[in-house]
Amino acid sequence: MMEFKQQLKRRIYLGGIYCVVVALLVILSRIFDAENMAFAFSLGFAIGIEFVAFYFIAKYRAALRDEKKLKLLYIEENDEREKHISYQIGRTGIVIILISLSAAMLITVHINQIVFFTLLAATLYTAVIIGILKIFYNKTI
C-alpha cells in the first residue's frame, strides 16, 4: 500500500504541474491576445482536461487522508474483473475500429481522395501499432 500511496502522490504532483501550466497558458493568451480558432480550441480542450485533473487530485488527496478510502481506491484500480473488462474492450474495440476504418476507406475512395488517404494512413497506423504491441507482449509476457 505504501507504493500505491507514493504513486498517488506522484499523480497529484504531475496533475498540479499540468494545472499550473494550463493556468499560465490562459494568462499568456490574455496578455498576447491570442485569438485564433486553433489555439482557442486547444486551450479550451486543455481547460476541460484541467477540470478532470482537479477532480482526480481531490479524489487522491481524500484517499491519502483516509485509509478506508485509500483501500477502496486501490481495489477500484486493481480489481481483476475490471482489468479483464478493459482487456476485452481493447481486444474487441480494436477489431471494430479496424473494420470501421476499412469500410469508411472503401466508401471514401469513390468520394474524396484526401479523406481516403487520411483514413488509409489511420488504418495503417492502427495496424502497425497492433503489430508492434503484439511483438512486444509476445517477448515480455
Binding site: 483501500k71 486501490y74 481495489i75 477500484e76 486493481n78 480489481d79 481483476e80 474483473r81 475490471e82 479483464h84
Partner: protein, 72 residues
C-alpha cells in the same frame, strides 16, 4: 464455473462487500463469480479459499475442466 462462495458466505454470515474487501476486489467481482459469469484468477481463488480456511478445490468446482493426465 460453479462455486460454493455464496453457500460459505451464508454459513459464515458474511456479505459480498465484506468478502470483497477482505480479498481485495470489488463487490461486483464477487457477484460475477457467484453468478458464474466470471472465473476467478488463481491468486483470487487462493485468497478466497484461505479466507474461508479451506482449499481451492473445496470452493471451486473443477469437474467440468478437462485435463489429460500423465501416462504412468
Amino acid at each position: 464455473m460453479k462455486t460454493r462462495i455464496a453457500e460459505l458466505r451464508k454459513k459464515h454470515k458474511i456479505t459480498q462487500e465484506e468478502l470483497a474487501m477482505a480479498v481485495g476486489v470489488t463487490r461486483q467481482t464477487i457477484t460475477s463469480i457467484e453468478r458464474e459469469k466470471y472465473t476467478a484468477s488463481l491468486v483470487l481463488a487462493y485468497k478466497i479459499a484461505k479466507y474461508f480456511g479451506t482449499t481451492i478445490e473445496d470452493i471451486f468446482d473443477f469437474s467440468e475442466v478437462e485435463v489429460e493426465e500423465i501416462k504412468k
